[in-house]
């Protein structure tokens, strides 16, 4: 028997699992209307391939394969494709397909693949894609993508996560008890796809019934799956923590388990894989725990995806109270849902409706006394008290130096904090601020690059223009030489010198010089005006430059006339 490793920190909150796992699995009522969000996980939302008014059968695919598709959980009619409120921490709305169920539960003909081993593995992965299989434990990452992103032979260890470390939740517990055989067969499919050297199924020791069920399934089906039971501690079901418990290895920061040859899948996902491959059934339902003291009959329900939460809550005997919290997930990491109209989605493992006494609202925070209980509890070995300090000071450099981004937001630090400081909130806000700032920096970097490129382009254009001018000048000089005349530059210099000499020798001729100057300027002004008149106004800069030239020349003319007046003034001439 493999000796499980330990991970740093962790906490032991009251488990409260017997509230829901002492009753058998029930089927939730099929509601009159199902609301199926087009996007249920990270990534681009799927695109609907059905239209309102269309009749659909159970198991029928409703969206294209660009993302991870969703399917009709039962037969009925599409009545709308519109924005509905979805289960999300922000309480936002997103596009959903709304189906009026006809109550007959007519299904497509399913196509089981009992012989999947004789098929191309790529075809089986494609089937998981088509069946809309997502990770049912946490973030709902598309399973086919996880499988296809690993290089052949990269996965040494396949880990199946049956930990379910959050208090209250017993969906996986019940699943392992009731569907142990399907689970083992599903794991075999996953193992066949990624060909690991070892397959580890990790379960916490607070689920003896599930362990017994798995043991008997494993004796019945001969497989190399190794069942590892380890002590209960939160958050041992976190992917990184489970990997450390089972293998003693740590996932490098910023990396994926695949980087150290590990692939993790949840037990619910493995059963969904079984259903889709061996039965041909897409993912249209899941097991959800409904628990908390605000329901009279807590328990686990096999529920169709898209079922409004209020329906499921009603099945469990929900009594609404003021300031009620509806938590999707567990008490440690679950998100509060703003409306009971929200549908159950692929990742809805639990609906927790606690009474106010059961999970009291946060007490007002006191000063941090740096007691260090948070650091003792942190499964990532961070120093939460220091992070809190820097988060309050908005010292982003120190936050990053203290590895804020290795925080998995498990909530252990907040749980133990005697000063009731909502530490995780601070870390979330700081992460968001840093990410925003990184985006801003990237944006301004791009802007600077654009500006610099433009400068370069303008300079280059100017240089080209200058080169052309020089070439023209050379050509003109050559032409003048060819014509047998003097060098025009030399001639110009001589003319200028002569003019200067004339000025110096006879101050009386200053007036003549000024008059000459005025004539030259007038000629230039005429030229400039002609150019401005010829301009078609297509380029604002050119027009502006020409206008400016005219104005400057006009000014020069005025100055020159003033000079002439001065030259003619007799007082000035007789010092």
């Amino acid at each position: 028997m493999r000796r499980p490793h330990d991970f740093h920190g962790g906490i032991y909150p009251p488990e409260r699992k017997s509230l829901s796992n002492t009753r058998p699995l029930r089927r939730a009522t099929i509601p009159d209307q199902l609301v199926i969000p087009l996007s249920q996980h990270i990534g681009a939302p799927a695109k609907a391939i059905v239209a309102p008014g269309e009749d659909v059968l159970g198991g029928q695919r409703l969206t294209d394969l660009a993302g991870l598709p969703v399917h009709a959980p039962t037969s009925g009619t599409i009545v709308a494709i519109e924005d509905r409120v979805i289960p999300h921490a922000s309480g936002m709305s997103a596009p959903c397909i709304v189906i009026d169920c006809d109550g007959q539960d007519r299904w497509l003909d399913l196509e089981p693949w009992p012989d999947y081993r004789e098929r191309d593995p790529a075809a089986v992965v494609a089937r998981l894609h088509e069946a809309g299989i997502a990770g049912l434990g946490g973030a709902g990452f598309p399973t086919f993508r996880k499988l296809s992103s690993a290089r052949p032979g990269q996965i040494r260890t396949l880990i199946i996560n049956g930990t379910e470390c959050e208090p209250y939740i017993t969906a996986d517990d019940i699943l392992m008890r009731e569907r142990a055989r399907e689970l083992v067969l599903g794991i075999e499919i996953l193992a066949w796809l990624c060909e690991p050297k070892e397959i580890l199924l990790g379960v916490e020791d607070n689920k003896p019934d599930a362990v017994r069920a798995l043991e008997s399934a494993l004796t019945e089906i001969q497989t190399p799956i190794e069942l590892v039971v380890f002590p209960t501690k939160y958050p041992s079901g976190g992917e990184k923590q489970l990997i450390e418990i089972l293998t003693g290895q740590q996932v490098p920061t910023g990396g994926l388990p695949a980087d150290i040859g590990i692939l993790c899948q949840n037990v619910g996902t493995a059963v969904a894989v079984h259903d889709s491959v061996l039965l041909g059934r897409p993912l249209v339902s899941r097991i959800t725990t409904v628990t908390g003291e605000a329901v009279t009959e807590p328990g686990n329900f096999e529920v169709l995806l898209g079922t409004p939460m209020k329906q499921l809550l009603a099945d469990a005997g929900y009594r609404e109270a003021p300031r009620q919290r509806l938590i999707m997930g567990g008490p440690m990491m679950g998100v509060t849902i703003s409306s009971t109209e929200c549908p159950v989605i692929k990742t809805t493992n639990c609906l927790l409706v606690p009474s106010a006494k059961e999970l009291p609202a946060n007490a007002s925070p006191q000063a941090c006394i740096r007691c260090g209980l948070c650091a003792e509890a942190c499964p990532a070995t961070l120093l939460p008290q220091q992070l809190y300090w820097y988060a309050r000071a908005q010292d982003q450099d120190q936050l990053e130096a203290h590895q804020l981004f290795d925080c998995i937001e498990c909530g252990a630090c907040s749980y133990v904090c005697p000063s009731h400081i909502p530490l995780v909130q601070y870390y979330r806000a700081s992460k968001a601020a840093i990410i925003e700032q990184r985006a801003d920096t990237a944006k301004s970097d791009r802007a600077r690059e654009r500006f610099e490129a433009r400068q370069e382009r303008l300079e280059q254009a100017a240089a080209e223009k200058e080169a052309k001018r020089a070439a023209r000048k050379r050509a003109a000089a050559a032409k003048a030489l060819d014509a047998g005349g003097d060098d025009p530059i030399k001639a110009a210099i001589e003319r200028a010198q002569a003019r200067k000499a004339a000025q110096e020798t006879s101050p009386a001729s200053a007036g003549d010089a000024a008059r000459e100057k005025i004539q030259r300027i007038e000629a230039r002004l005429e030229k400039a005006r002609a150019k401005l008149a010829a301009d078609d106004g297509s380029d604002a800069t050119i027009t502006a430059a020409l206008t400016k030239a005219v104005e400057t020349t006009e000014k020069k003319l005025t100055t020159a006339r003033a000079e002439l007046d001065a030259a003619n003034d007799p007082k000035e001439q007789t010092p």
């Binding site: 490098p252 920061t253 998100v335 849902i337 703003s338 260090g372 070995t381 005697p418």
Partner: protein
């Protein structure tokens, strides 16, 4: 009906800061009993009067800082500060000594630096050092242990000593630490034989007082109020220093390891002073270094310094170095190991 929207986690552990502080206060009881048993009710009077001074000081500081008064008074932190300071003061201290010490601890060392959680130095020890430097006479006269004198001082004596100091004439005696420091010619064996208050190891009364504070500290460890790192490191380093310079008990010996562990404020310091989380290092590795540094400093100041005990100075010096220690003892974060590929 609208649902409440809040962020995770939704569950919270049972511990609160005021509970932590109350637990620390309760843990001083064995030590207080031992002190009272061996030195009379002087320390008890110190502690009670100190508490009565501390609460208005705290309220005043909070008022001046425009902070809510009731919630902060209820966190018991100011009572911990005043209690720890008053335990450290000599029994039968005059009222003004206690007043000055507590007021300085609370107003200056705690609130001037930003209040609970922000003070870089242990407030009780700041108050103690201020008194030690300002009033060396009052601070270095410890009453003689009860078994060595005739007539136990009663509660009335203690009250008189506190509030009408001029009328009180208690018997004081050099503490074992003083005796050892002033020893010039005798071997330890002769010294112990010649000086009754040295007791077996750390001095009559002192041995039991230290063991009682050790018991209180062990209870706090059991209650997970702090980790073992700083106290263990301090005691080990102090014992090691003593062992290193024991010199087989010659006349130049600095005293045996057991003497140092069981004399003066060793156990009180190890479990009640250096474990103050606010002013100590934060990581466990950092706390090991922090504790060890204090152990070395205590030994050095006890043997080479000029003051009766060294815990306060050692702690303040270590408080200075805590941020520095923190900087170099950040724990290795998950996924940042040497064996991990850093991209």
């Amino acid at each position: 009906m609208s649902l409440l929207v809040v962020t995770s986690p939704h569950a919270h552990g049972p511990l609160s800061t005021s509970q932590v502080m109350r637990t620390v206060l309760l843990a001083t009881i064995p030590g207080l009993i031992a002190l009272t048993w061996y030195f009379g009710p002087g320390t008890l009077v110190n502690v009670i009067f100190g508490g009565l001074v501390a609460l208005p000081c705290e309220a005043l500081a909070l008022r001046l800082r425009k902070q809510p008064i009731a919630p902060f008074l209820k966190d018991y932190s100011v009572l911990v500060t005043s209690t720890l300071l008053c335990i450290a003061l000599p029994p039968y201290a005059p009222w003004w000594l206690i007043l000055v010490g507590v007021a300085f601890s609370v107003l200056i060392a705690k609130h001037l630096y930003g209040g609970l959680g922000y003070n870089p130095f242990n407030p009780a020890m700041v108050g103690y050092v201020v008194l030690l430097i300002s009033f060396p006479l009052q601070m270095s006269s410890w009453s003689a242990p009860v078994p060595l004198i005739e007539g136990t001082p009663g509660v009335m004596d203690a009250l008189r000593a506190c509030f009408v100091p001029a009328s009180y004439d208690g018997v004081t005696m050099a503490t074992p630490l003083d005796v050892l420091r002033q020893n010039t010619g005798q071997t330890l064996e002769d010294l112990y034989a010649a000086t009754p208050q040295l007791g077996h190891f750390g001095g009559v009364g002192w041995e039991v007082v230290n063991l009682a504070f050790l018991a209180g500290g062990a209870w706090l460890l059991y209650r997970r109020i702090f980790t073992w790192h700083a106290p263990a490191a301090m005691l080990v380093s102090l014992a090691l220093c003593a062992a290193l310079f024991y010199d087989e008990g010659s006349s130049s010996s600095g005293g045996s390891p057991l003497f140092h562990l069981l004399s003066g404020a060793t156990m009180f310091g190890a479990f009640f002073i250096i474990t103050d989380p606010v002013s100590s290092a934060v990581s466990n590795r950092g706390r090991l270094i922090f504790g060890a540094l204090i152990g070395v400093l205590i030994y050095t100041i006890r043997v080479r310094g000029n003051y009766p005990d060294a815990v306060a100075f050692a702690v303040l010096i270590a408080n200075f170095s805590a941020p520095f220690i923190d900087h170099y003892t950040q724990p290795r974060v998950y996924g940042h190991g040497k064996d991990q590929r850093d991209e």
